[in-house]
Symmetry: C2
Subunit: 171 residues, 2 copies
Amino acid sequence: MITVLRIGHRINRDKRITTHVALVGRAFGADKIIITTKDKKIEDNIKSICKKFGGDFKIETGIDPKKIINQWNGTIVHLTMYGDEMEKSIPKIDKVRDILIIVGAEKVSPYFFEKADFNISVGNQPHSEVAALAIFLDRYSNGKWIKNQFNGKIEIIPSDFRKKVRKKVNE
Amino acid sequence: MITVLRIGHRINRDKRITTHVALVGRAFGADKIIITTKDKKIEDNIKSICKKFGGDFKIETGIDPKKIINQWNGTIVHLTMYGDEMEKSIPKIDKVRDILIIVGAEKVSPYFFEKADFNISVGNQPHSEVAALAIFLDRYSNGKWIKNQFNGKIEIIPSDFRKKVRKKVNE
């Protein structure tokens, strides 16, 4: 089971980035996102996307991160540009255990660096927690996320037609 | 040469997502981003990051996308959840030619689907243009982006220390 823990979410400033973090989690194979700040709008938005596009992705908001971390029975990974190289770190992760992936907004307190079993960087240049989560989950799953089936009401049929956009609606 | 063309950027709504798109472009090996909407703040922000972290990444904003596309001498790729599977499409791209990667905000007009040599999807689930660009550039470069050297004033030294964050400042 893969859980994303989004910390430091500021409702106005981060709403779109956090939404992208959640959707990347869902699309790239995570089972759940926990957002530490209570944000009913993001909850509703993600639930509505799940309802349309399928799958069993869960979202919870307004949860104390320290409680999650202290009770976590599994591996804790913190994605940070200051962390160790993913090529070295990912092979060390026991994939049988549950994994909690901490994804911060701009400033992350030393507490999370300390509590993580692995502080992992997806490159050491500044870029995006959205990209970092996608690349991490891609490497962690050996690219298998792309085969995930969601059985949603809406399914996009891949197409190289320049103009046509095809959707399959199951109901 | 790899150029990212960000279309449909709305200054208030998209400022953080477009900033992430630009930074992902830079970190994952693109040479330049063109944002069709004029946005001096994003320009300054990206230039200031480049100044600190190095490299030769360029940014231009307020450019007519049709002019860019019509004058483009190279391949045009449009990243879209409706596009063809990247595993099938990326091997068809001639890597010797310059590439323009179109990254849209929410709604993209059929014009761009038509003008693209390749409409490519990074999975067919809704997620994020930030993640799509990162995964596309990762696959397009066979993961080689991670070895790019930026020779910046600030360089992050990868570290698995739980608490310590090390930075090397060259001047």
